[in-house]
Subunit: 368 residues, 2 copies
Amino acid sequence: MTKTLFLGIIGVGGVGNAFLEQLGRLPTPPKLILLARSSQTLLAPSPGYSPAIPIASWDKATENESLVKCGALTPAEMVDYLGRAPGPTIVVDNTSDLGLAEAYPLFLRKGISIVTPNKKGFSQNLGLWDDIFAAATEGNALVYYQGTVGGTLPVLSTLRDLIATGDEVIRIEAVLSGTLSQLLGTYMPGSGTSTESWSSLVARAREAGETEPDPRDDLDGLDFARKLTIIARIIGLRVTGVDEILVESLIPVELRSLPSSSEGVEQFMNQLAQFDSRMYEAKEAAQKQDKVLRYVGSIDVPTRTIKVGLHQVVKNSRIAGLVGTKFVSMYTKRYKETPLVLEGGGGGGEITASGLIADLLKVMERLG
Amino acid sequence: MTKTLFLGIIGVGGVGNAFLEQLGRLPTPPKLILLARSSQTLLAPSPGYSPAIPIASWDKATENESLVKCGALTPAEMVDYLGRAPGPTIVVDNTSDLGLAEAYPLFLRKGISIVTPNKKGFSQNLGLWDDIFAAATEGNALVYYQGTVGGTLPVLSTLRDLIATGDEVIRIEAVLSGTLSQLLGTYMPGSGTSTESWSSLVARAREAGETEPDPRDDLDGLDFARKLTIIARIIGLRVTGVDEILVESLIPVELRSLPSSSEGVEQFMNQLAQFDSRMYEAKEAAQKQDKVLRYVGSIDVPTRTIKVGLHQVVKNSRIAGLVGTKFVSMYTKRYKETPLVLEGGGGGGEITASGLIADLLKVMERLG
């Protein structure tokens, strides 16, 4: 690694924070020249792109007189600034912003590589997916997005290796929502029992920061469906988008019209208890079969069926034992009888960030 | 990938065969210019290094008049030939030859990259290990050796990612002998029972080609110990070699002085039944605890204890359920309560070869 590499970071939330912390501990991090938060952007002054933003003290860097401060930049403005840096440049998108993801082709065509856990660019319409990879080829840039699915769990790279070496995926079974895995593993443990109601569990997890600020963003299953969309595309299925996935939402149908506002969240949390009996009935039905409830996704390649939803799974099975853990099981032409299994890590900022750092290091290795 | 890449293959056994078959199906394989078997070598004629050896019909290539045929080359001669190829060159070592592994630094210092499942270079003395990586840096060459431990199971790359991103491994538990996993999973299934004697099982597995030609090479645990040595070194333990691993051999002590000749194998197979009662007693003891016997390895980082041997493991546990499958469980600073788990594939030529192809593709990506 001899060339100087340049880095832009967009978004400094929980993952972004952990990412910056781990970035600062790399032996030779790239030069940080752009740091964008929702309404302010910090830049190394052009045309020299020096001094860089100090990674260790990034949160105090706004006080640094030699750096440029400005408001939010448009993607096109960021591309313009980063595209002129005097060396290979990488941008890390730590947001979940669709608008930004739609601009990936702009970055890539300018030769700016992308590392991101933002699922939007890869699970939206196929046109965007195709354009991202065409742009990467044209711009001779790289796109690494392992963080969209499994943190440091090497789901995408393992699938890519299988495909590249001529294997064929037949079926995938997965638990890819750490939050739903935690909630259901607690509601109905693989061994032992629990009497807590579903709504009380959800409320408690929300207070502990274990769900999204709006728990409906976990319960609707869409985030999980986006991950399956990405996996399906990697194994060669031309999935049009999340709309093609059969998603069983855990939001009671009566509550689906509540507004997405913060008021709507409170109304949802207040009314959820009225539907506790439904989850309880599902639990009872599973219990009778000596099974437990889990929120599971699957991709069946021969029938092109992709779905996520509540399943009764055998006690003592691998999936029954999960509490908050992610799990992917891959049946392929070569792994026919015993699948290739990856398991671990319920997400969380630190683990997601380390997946990003691992991707960043690979991009640096290839660009440097 | 624009540059022409050149490839040498040493060793065409079961893995080598499957490797060549998969290589032939790559969209843009490198130019095959050296193919070495035990006593004969096939070369593309220098100085043009053209025509290349046809990959699809490599086994008939000796009849090809335009190729050079000669006897076995020394490593130094191969380095000399490969080092003059007019582009980046990769050598795939499909042997388990220590002599060849000791010559890796020669290859690497000449800028020749290495892809191999040969454990010898990475599990022998630390001096060789250090020299290999120093030579790679000096020669600006790459060494990929994922195939030494887990085929397409991304054990080494996952560990490397964890370490590179600042995580610390605390403990590893593993089942890394597909053969012993198969034998013990059959001798004492996780559910159900079996009454077959140990010696009859071993004989049957040998006949089916599921053990090494000399089953003692599986039963002595050394191959597994070599894998643990490699893992231990990757996570930062300066292990001197296999001698530092506590290995419980499954070869009865009375039979350890039998010669390694084919006569010795037959004597071993004939006498093994005399010691069936020992395995049976171990089985009975486990049964009494409601446990099963498995051959398990572990690395405990704080106490620097590395061992492989027969263990009683709880029925219904992950490890108890394995029959012929490999398994690695990693407890780290970040994966503290629920480990990161990789599982799958008992080896076999096709899966080992696909791990090599995956490594080769990564090397091609970085060199091309």
